[in-house]
């Protein structure tokens, strides 16, 4: 556009007109173009045709342009037709001034339309000035046909040119640059026609080189079909080097008005169509809105009750299904509705905007379908939704809680029922009737444990009841069953409580009774034991095998027995008491129905034992009486025996003693010969032997005593044993002493010990016999030897001891002493003497032969030697040689090796 305008501005017309100056062109017009008669001619034709095209609407025409406008009437008419406005009434006179007046009216009108008319007067027109008239017509054409042309903000001439250019732009061989030569080949005209009415000509068949044809064709079609009378002459245009601009402009303005008008009409029709279309659209939109709104509202109306439905379901599954449905609704059903609503709103807004833009009144939806209605209905829906969702969740929670509670209830109830099952039966047991005290205690403890267990369960029962209560409050669907179960649990609970109490009482009662019985048993046992002991003791005592030896003993036994008999009544009382205890126990257990086997655990003794023993005791008492008296008699008898024995023993004992002393004295005596001693002793012996019968008699008495089992005898210190031993000792002593004397005599004779020596030996012996018991002890002997001048070392003394006391008795007898003394004073060694004797028999040989022994010794002794003598085992000795040296030394127990 801009370029076109620019182009416009640079176009210079050959006639020197400037684009912006044609409003003032009266000035230039004055100077130039009418000099060209061709133009005048053209203009005349064209302007005439143009005026006629308008005047025919008023039913008139002009033939001659400078003549027919002279009176001004057709001029005024023309103006009226062109403008559509009424001019002032023309003067109907024929006079010049009438004509001038009319023409002035016309000119005034033209001026009133903003046209400066310079140097055009009414008189020139009335006078028929062609130049003026054409100029005036041109002014009119300019003003009324061209001035208002407005194409793309380019107006009037430029606008018209622009319009022509625009419309012919698609046609390559048309180049409209001006209103003269561009039109000479006629293609422009055709193009213009073809542009608007392609049906009127076939542009492709047109030829640039046939301008005449083209022009005529265009003029013809325009006249025929476009109602544009021919205003131009084809030949004129061809022949004129530069056709008249104004003529062409005038003709083109008709085209413009025809087409633009058509376009306007089209535009108008379009506008109308558009408006109508908009209207229709709007209406449709309104309808659509209404419809959608209705639907939406209907949907809301349907949906809202569903959302407001608060009918609870029984189970959680059902509720969850509802929730699921709700979710579906939210996820699937509502969104499209949201979208619908949104769409509705959009539509509404769009509609309102469109209406506003197209200057229509705003859309008022029908009653109840207003935006506010929809909004409030939608709000209602939202709230219902929220409320519904809340309700659903609450319900679900509630049902969940209920389910949970119901389950809790079930579990607890089941647990409790399990615990409680069988308890009634157990509590109703009458096991305590046959229980022992220990068992009762155990039962009591068990019961205690049960009681605390029960107490512990109290809580649970309460919990169960609480849950049931809550289920009731929360309106659980199966609350009836719950209540029933709860009730039965509570009932059972009460019963258990009662039974527990009853059982406790029964157990405690039984316990007390059994305790009492137990106490009685304890007492019984406590008393029975010592009593039993007493009885046992008594029985023992009564049966006691007494061994008494004195009358006093028997007497004391009898006394004791009497004492014992005195205690019998007391014992009997105790017995009664014990039996009494037993009876009481029986009474208690009978009267309280204790069916247990009541046995006294504290005592192995029964009342039967008690009774039995007592009877025994009773029996034994007189028995003992008898026994004791018997014994008494016996004791008396024994006493008699004792005295008898004692009398005798007391005689014999001393007699023996005297004899012993006699003998002792005798043996120790130094005065008198051994033979004298012997005689004395023999006499003594005789006496003793004669006394024997006394001893025998005593033995007899003793036997009696022994047979009577008397073992003591206070009447004498002598026992039979004493007497016996003493007697035997006496006998042996006398015999020994006699023997000693005999031996001494032998020794004296053998050793040649004189009487004097004997006396000396005897006095030494007696001196060192410190103890005066007829023997020297080791120390005594040692002292003796020392006194005799023997200076002995221990070894030598030991040797000597061995000799004198070979048996190691520690005592040296008088005989041994004499032997030792005589041996020591002897000259020769008896072993050597024997050896010497054998040597003589062996004729100085160191060995002896068997035949020599047999020859020299008596046969018995010879054989004895032969048997005993070891062989003489030295080289050079003949066989059968016997070692008499070894034999001899062996005889004396001393061998030199």
């Amino acid at each position: 556009m801009m370029t076109m305008t620019q182009m416009e501005t640079t176009v210079h017309y050959d006639n020197g007109y400037d684009e912006y100056q044609y409003m003032n062109q009266e000035d230039e017009w004055d100077r130039d173009n009418l000099l060209d008669p061709a133009w005048e001619q053209q203009q005349r034709k064209t302007f005439t045709a143009w005026c006629n095209s308008h005047l025919r609407k008023a039913g008139t025409q002009i033939e001659n342009i400078e003549e027919d406008f002279r009176n001004g009437l057709k001029l005024m008419l023309l103006l009226e037709v062109i403008s559509g406005e009424r001019l002032p009434k023309p003067d109907r006179g024929k006079m010049r001034f009438h004509k001038i007046a009319n023409v002035n009216k016309a000119l005034e009108y033209i001026t009133s339309k903003g046209v400066k008319l310079v140097s055009i007067g009414a008189e020139e027109i009335v006078d028929g000035n062609v130049k003026m008239t054409l100029g005036m017509i041109w002014t009119i054409i300019l003003r009324f046909a061209i001035q208002d042309i407005n194409v793309e903000e380019t107006s009037a001439k430029e606008g018209l040119l622009l319009w022509c250019q625009r419309k012919t732009a698609p046609y390559r061989n048309v180049n409209v640059q001006n209103f003269h030569v561009s039109w000479k080949d006629g293609l422009a005209f055709c193009a213009l026609i073809h542009r608007h009415r392609p049906d009127l000509l076939d542009y492709s068949k047109l030829n640039k080189d046939d301008p005449l044809g083209n022009l005529n064709l265009a003029f013809d079609i325009a006249e025929k079909h476009l109602d544009i009378p021919k205003m131009l002459d084809a030949e004129d245009i061809i022949n004129t080097p530069k056709p008249d601009e104004r003529a062409i402009m005038t003709y083109m303005s008709c085209f413009y008005h025809a087409f633009a008008g058509a376009e306007q009409a089209e535009t108008a029709a379009n506008r109308i169509c558009k408006v109508l279309g908009v209207n229709q659209e709007n209406e449709k939109m309104m309808e659509e809105y209404e419809r959608l709104a209705s639907e939406l509202l209907e949907w809301i109306r349907r949906t809202t009750p569903w959302l407001e439905n608060r009918t609870p379901e029984k189970t959680m599954a059902e509720m969850q299904q509802k929730l699921e449905d709700f979710r579906d609704y939210r996820r699937q059903h509502k969104p499209p509705k949201v979208q619908e609503k949104c769409q509705l709103e959009i539509n509404f807004n769009t509609l309102q905007t469109k209406l506003r833009i197209s200057n229509r009144p705003a859309f008022m939806p029908s009653e109840g379908k207003m935006v506010s209605d929809i909004a409030s209905a939608w709000q209602g829906l939202d709230q219902a939704e929220k409320g519904y969702e809340e309700w659903l969740l609450t319900e679900i929670r509630r049902l969940e809680r209920l389910d949970h509670l119901a389950e809790k209830f079930r579990q607890k109830a089941t647990n409790h029922e399990n615990w409680a099952s069988g308890k009634e039966l157990i509590l109703s047991q009458k096991d305590y009737e046959t229980a022992t005290l220990m068992e009762i205690k155990a039962l009591l403890r068990k019961h205690e444990a049960f009681e605390s267990d029960l107490a512990a369960h109290q809580d649970r029962v309460e919990q169960i009841a609480a849950i049931a209560q809550e289920l009731n409050e929360l309106d659980y669907h199966d609350v009836a069953a719950v209540n029933q179960r709860c009730q039965s649990i509570c009932d059972l609970w009460d019963r258990l409580g009662t039974l527990t109490q009853k059982r406790r009482e029964a157990l405690e009662r039984t316990d007390k009774l059994l305790e009492t019985i137990d106490q009685l048993f304890i007492e019984f046992a406590k008393r029975l034991a010592p009593f039993n002991n007493w009885m046992e003791g008594a029985m023992e005592d009564l049966q006691d095998m007494f061994i008494v030896h004195t009358i006093e003993e028997v007497q004391s036994l009898i006394a004791a027995h009497e004492q014992f008999k005195a205690t019998l009544p007391e014992a009997d009382a105790e017995r009664q008491a014990l039996l009494g205890i037993h009876n009481e126990v029986q009474k208690i257990s009978q009267s309280y129905g204790i069916k247990a086997n009541i046995v006294n655990p504290y005592s192995t003794l029964t009342t039967e034992d008690l009774i039995e023993k007592w009877d025994k005791v009773k029996k034994l008492v007189p028995q003992r009486d008898g026994a004791l008296h018997e014994e008494m008699a016996r004791q008396h008898a024994n006493e008699r025996l004792r005295r008898q024995f004692a009398a005798q023993a007391n005689l014999i004992g001393p007699w023996i003693q005297i004899r012993m002393e006699e003998i002792g004295r005798c043996s120790l005596e130094i005065g008198g010969t051994l033979e004298d001693q012997m005689t004395q002793l023999k006499q003594c012996e005789h006496v003793i032997v004669a006394y024997k019968p006394n001893v025998d008699k005593l033995e007899g008495d003793h036997q009696l005593i022994q047979e009577s089992l008397v073992f003591d005898n206070k009447h004498t210190n002598y026992t039979m044993e004493h007497i016996r031993v003493g007697w035997e000792l006496l006998l042996t002593t006398v015999a020994r002493t006699i023997n000693e004397i005999e031996t001494q005599i032998l020794t004296r004779d053998a050793k040649g010990i004189s009487q004097q020596q004997m006396k000396e030996f005897r006095s030494s012996f007696n001196h060192f016999d410190r103890k005066k018991n007829g023997a020297m002890e080791t120390d005594d002997f040692r002292a003796c030897l020392i006194s005799m001048g023997y200076d002995l070392g221990e070894v030598e003394f030991a040797r000597i001891m061995i000799l004198v006391d070979p048996n190691g008795t520690g005592n040296v007898s008088f005989q041994s002493f004499i032997d030792f003394m005589t041996r020591e004073t002897a000259d020769t060694d008896t072993a050597d003497q024997v050896v010497a004797s054998f040597r003589i028999l062996a004729t100085d040989k160191p060995y002896i032969l068997m035949e020599e022994l047999r020859r020299e010794l008596p046969p018995e002794q010879a054989e004895y030697c032969i048997m005993r003598m070891p062989p003489y085992a030295v080289s050079g000795a003949p066989p059968g040689a016997l070692d008499y040296t070894a034999f001899s030394t062996a005889l004396y127990g001393e061998s030199d090796l």
Partner: protein, 83 residues
């Protein structure tokens, strides 16, 4: 507590001691005399010592003659156990 000891005297006899005692004398077999410088004395035998065994054979129950013969029968060395 007297202790036992063993002695082995190198032969031949005489050994240089006097033996006393025996079952028949109701006396234990003892050494009653030692020859000065004799084999027994040199061997450490003491006067009064009892002969418990001769050549390993216990003297318990032996009479004097038996003991004498036993000692005499030892040609070569004489082993004694004494106390």
């Amino acid at each position: 507590m007297s202790s036992n000891y063993s002695v082995t005297l190198l032969g031949p006899a005489p050994w240089g001691f006097r033996l006393q005692g025996g079952k028949d004398f109701s006396m234990p077999l003892t050494i009653s005399r030692l020859t000065d410088g004799g084999k027994a004395a040199k061997g450490g035998i003491g006067i009064g010592d009892m002969v418990l065994s001769i050549d390993g054979i216990a003297t318990e129950g032996m009479n004097h003659l038996e003991a004498q013969n036993k000692i005499k029968s030892c040609s070569g060395n004489l082993s004694l156990k004494l106390q």
